[in-house]
Each structure stands twice: as C-alpha cells, then as structure tokens.
Amino acid sequence: MLRVALQMLIGDRSKYITLVSGLAFVSLLFIQQGSVFCGLMLRTCRPVESVGAKIWVADPTLQSIDDSKPLIDTDLTRVRSVDGVKWAVPLFLRQVQVRLKSGKFQNVRLFGLDNASLVGRPGKMLVGDSASLNAPDAVIIGKAESERLENPQIGDTFELNDRIARVVGIADVPRDFLSNPYIYTTYDRALQYAPRQRKQLNFILVEPQIGLPIQQVVDNIKKTTGLAAYTEDQMRWLTIGYYMKNTGIPINIGISLTLVFVVGMAIAGQTFYAFALQNERYFGALKAMGTSSFTLVKMILLQSLTVGLIGYSIGTGAGCLIGWVNQGNRLAFFTPYQLLLISFSITIVICMLASLISIKRVLQLEPAVVFRN
C-alpha cells in the first residue's frame, strides 16, 4: 500500500510539484538565512582566529574583541610570572584611521605584534615576508577589503596618525564582521600609529607550558592576577555572544526564519489539505475495502516524508550552491552541519504538522462516504 501511496502522490503532478517546490523553497530560505546568520557571527570572531593565540588575557570588563578596556603595562609581567605560563606577549588591537593617497580616510583594524616574536602575525603571506615588519615604517596589509585602501602594492605608502606606513607584504586574511582592512605592524610602531591613550595594551597573548591543560593555566591567570583570561574558543564565543546580545541580527534573522516557517506551513498545509480533499473518495474506497486506519496514516506520513525529503534535498542543495558560488566574496555565508540538521528537522516538522490535517480528515472519514455521490 505504501507503493500505492507514492503513486497517488507522484501521479498528481501539480500538487506534488507544488509541495516539493514549496518545501524546497522553505529549506532554501532556511539554509540561506541561517547560513548568513552563522556567517556573520563567524566573522565577528575572525580577528581572534587570525591571531591564533591559545590564551587571551584582558581587562575583566572585556565584552568582545572589539570592545576592550586597556591594561596597564605591568600586567604583562604579572601574567608572565603565573604558574604554567610558558611565555606571554603584548598585543595592540584597535580601530584606527588611515589617510589614503587620495586624501580619503578609511578605518582599519590595526594589529600591533610583539616586536621580537611577531606572535599573532598572519598565517599565510600572499606577497612578501612577515619578517619584513622589522623594516622602518613597515606594515603588512590583509588582502581582504584591501580595495578600501585603494589596493596598495608592495612599497606603496599611506598615513597613519600622521606617520608614514609602507606596505612590505600582503597577507591572506579573512573578511571580518566590521569589513575593515587588517594592518599588521610591530607593537612599538602600532603605539605610534594610533592616537595616544593613557593605557595602550589591549591584550596579552599567552602560551601555556607543554603538558598543562589550557583551562588550568587560564584559571591560574585569573586567580593570580585578577584579570580576565580566555581560551581561544572562549574568546570566540565571548565575541559572538556580544554581537548576539548587542545587535539586531538575531532578531532580524529570527523574524525571517519564523516567516519562513509560517509560509512553509501555509504552503504545505494548504496543499496537503487540497490533496486530502481531492483524494477523500479514494481514501474512503480504500477504507471501505478494508484498509486499516493505521495503514492509511502510514500512507499519508510516507507521502509527507517523501515530499519533505525531496524538498529538503533540493532546497539544501540550492542553498549550499549559493554558498559555494559566493565563496570568498563579501557574502557572509557559513553552513555548519547543525544548521543542516535543524533545517531538516524544521522541514520534517512542517510536513508532519501539514499531514496532520490529512490524517485527521482520513481518520474521521466514514467509509460509507463512498456510496454518496
């Protein structure tokens, strides 16, 4: 009978296509909106990932990587003296303005790396060498968003806080949430490139001693210095949490996803209802001929699961294709497997809820209806 159910479903081309395309559209929108949300949130913590430190130490009032209160310079030595700390280096990280050759100003994210070790330097250089940062006025720029800096090449210069900066390398860095170009230089030079403040040190990057659990070293730092300390993962989630709480993105995307769910329910529910109405006499005939209610419910569930799975596959495929096509460009798009699972669950829930209408109708159907014309 399950085969009959599928033939009843697929044979009614117009409703079948409406159902599948409706559910595919729902899945596509869900994946697209969800991936944009995940992509945006992931971009908020790109600076954390690009530095790649195992432990971040900051002021206890730290809210995110973009909203920190500076430390005093002696905090660095205090951290270095904590049990389990192999080494600790300063990191200067602030939004500053660049004056371009054209005279325009552009905000950039300025990384001031430890002069000696250059800890936090870009992992992959496209042009030049990160060791060149030791040259006078040297900066490395990130390739992403470099068009905002008027696409400077090696040897080009621009001004930072009335001081010359000369490009000595171009690094492969990801786009981040604020969409500002990255500029790397040494710590001491970064202090000159940024307008002077009473305290300049934003973060301390720490390497734990080999063999010690990172969390234990984090706890030691917190306990000994009274500063905030985070593993890289904690720092990422702190930043994501900040943007989740302090921007309208989750609400906006949440409204979109709710609308997707409602529209999906409306399309699937209405079409399933029409399908049930149209097939009422056939279900009645099947019931009269001795098909049990349980079998009829199984038939309807199979029909709904089938359109759900096909719709989901098409929608998800299309959604992932959008992500693949837009790889590396400005579109923030990230599809974690959890999103695929949630989208799958939502699609199946929509199908199940929509099929409840059919199931209710069929269960209440008197088989004697077949003798009414």
Binding site: Q7, M8, G290, S293, P367, V370, N373
Partner: protein
C-alpha cells in the same frame, strides 16, 4: 483480527438482516433511514434492491457491507454477527469477505487498471508483482486484457466499471455489494456490465446485492427487494427463465 473461513456458516444464507434500524441526526432533525428491516440474501443469488430516492437503499447496503453501524437489529453475514464486531474487526471482515462496486467507480486515477485491480490484494499484503499478475488475469476475464496498463482516464465509462468489477472480484469475496453500477453508463454498456455480473461474478458460494434505480436491468436479478420509506415492502422472485424465453 482475521476471521477464519471455518467461522463462516455453510448455510445457503449469505446475509440475514433482522429488525435492522438506522436513524441519522438527533431529536427534531432526525431521519429514520431504516425501520425494522428484515431481509435474507442467499448464496448464488443476485439480489436487486430497488426503490425511490431517499428510501434507504444505500443505507441498507452500507449496513450490509459493514461500513455503517445499525442502531438496532441483527446483521448476520455468512453466520458472522457483524453488528457485534468492533470497528477493527469489521475492517478485517470487509477486507476478507466483501467486494465493492461503486457508481462513480472510485478508481485511483494515478494507478493503472492493473494496479487499481490489485489494490484489494495489496491491502492484504500480497507482494506487488504477484498482486498485479493476478489483477491482469482478472482483467483478461472481464475483457480488458489489452488495457491493463491504461490509466482510468484513458478508459471509457463501461471499461472503468469493468475494472471496478475486476477489483471487486480479485480477492474472491463471498459478498459483492454494488451501488448503482449502471447509473453512469449507457443502456447497452449497462446490460453488458450486468451480463458480466451474472456470468463472471456470480457463483454458488457468492451473493451479489445491487442497489439500482435502473429498470432496464431489473431482469438480471434473481429477486428484487423493493424499499419504501426505510422498509422492505416487497420481495419478489424474478422469473429469469421466463424472461429469457420471451
């Protein structure tokens, strides 16, 4: 629950209705569709149930087929008290022993003729290929061997009704109930269908009950039960031998 063949009586009586009543609606708006109906249908018999519209023919057929519960009375089909069965038992009983033929055929439009005929076998979990094979054989019996892969919309009304007959026969039911089987057909096709009932569907172990308005087919019944206002008012034998001679 599967009812064993041994539970069915070996009597000649296929259907026995005693004091069967059925009322639709409540209080002031209620309609007494059946009023203390008494009727017997015998094995090997084709009984026509006739009467004006609204007299209760279809209600009686539904009660007889176990798809509508009577309010009172005894509904005995091949010795089984259908009125005492639970809904699940009635479903199982219908699956095993009742064949249905409807005025509007009720063939599933997205299934081929063979698949439509195979449905009763699929309901009793016969493997698909075996069910369709048997369906093709039955379709050949009703003269549609060449059209087994046609969809209902590709068939004429008479051909569709023959498919419906094949569907009713495929599971070899003991009782076939038909609701206005010729109402949607022209005169000649209606007679062809009734001929088929007598020659192909009817046998000594099976009874057929046909509800009809169509007086052109009255001659095909062994007996004719006349209904009026929810009661059987007259049951008379049809002298078929005499009709044939005439």
């Amino acid at each position: 629950m599967k009812i064993q063949d041994s539970e069915l009586s070996n009597y000649d009586i296929a259907v026995s209705l005693t004091d069967v009543s059925k009322t639709f609606g409540l209080a002031d708006t209620s309609v007494k569709a059946l009023k203390s109906v008494e009727l017997k249908v015998y094995c090997g018999e084709l009984l026509l149930l006739v009467g004006p519209s609204g007299c209760g023919k279809t209600t009686l057929l539904s009660v007889m087929a176990g798809i509508l519960d009577s309010d009172q009375g005894i509904v005995d089909i091949f010795g089984v008290r259908v009125d005492k069965l639970s809904q699940a038992q009635k479903t199982s009983f219908r699956r095993q022993y009742i064949g249905f033929i409807f005025q509007q055929f009720n063939l599933i439009p997205t299934l081929t003729a063979a698949e439509n005929v195979a449905v009763p076998l699929l309901i009793i979990k016969t493997p698909y290929s075996k069910a369709v094979k048997k369906a093709r054989e039955i379709l050949a019996m009703v003269g549609l061997g060449e059209r087994t892969e046609f969809f209902p919309t590709q068939l004429s009304g008479g051909q569709q009704q023959r498919v419906a007959i094949a569907r009713a026969l495929v599971s070899e039911p003991r009782l076939i109930v038909c609701d206005e089987p010729t109402a949607s057909l022209d005169g000649d096709t209606g007679k062809l269908i009734m001929d088929m009932f007598r020659t192909t569907a009817l046998n000594k172990d099976r009874a057929i009950v046909v509800v009809t308005h169509d007086n052109r087919i009255f001659s095909y019944g062994d007996r004719i039960a006349e209904m009026l206002d929810g009661r059987i008012v007259n049951v008379h034998k049809n002298n078929r031998e005499l009709i044939k001679e005439q």
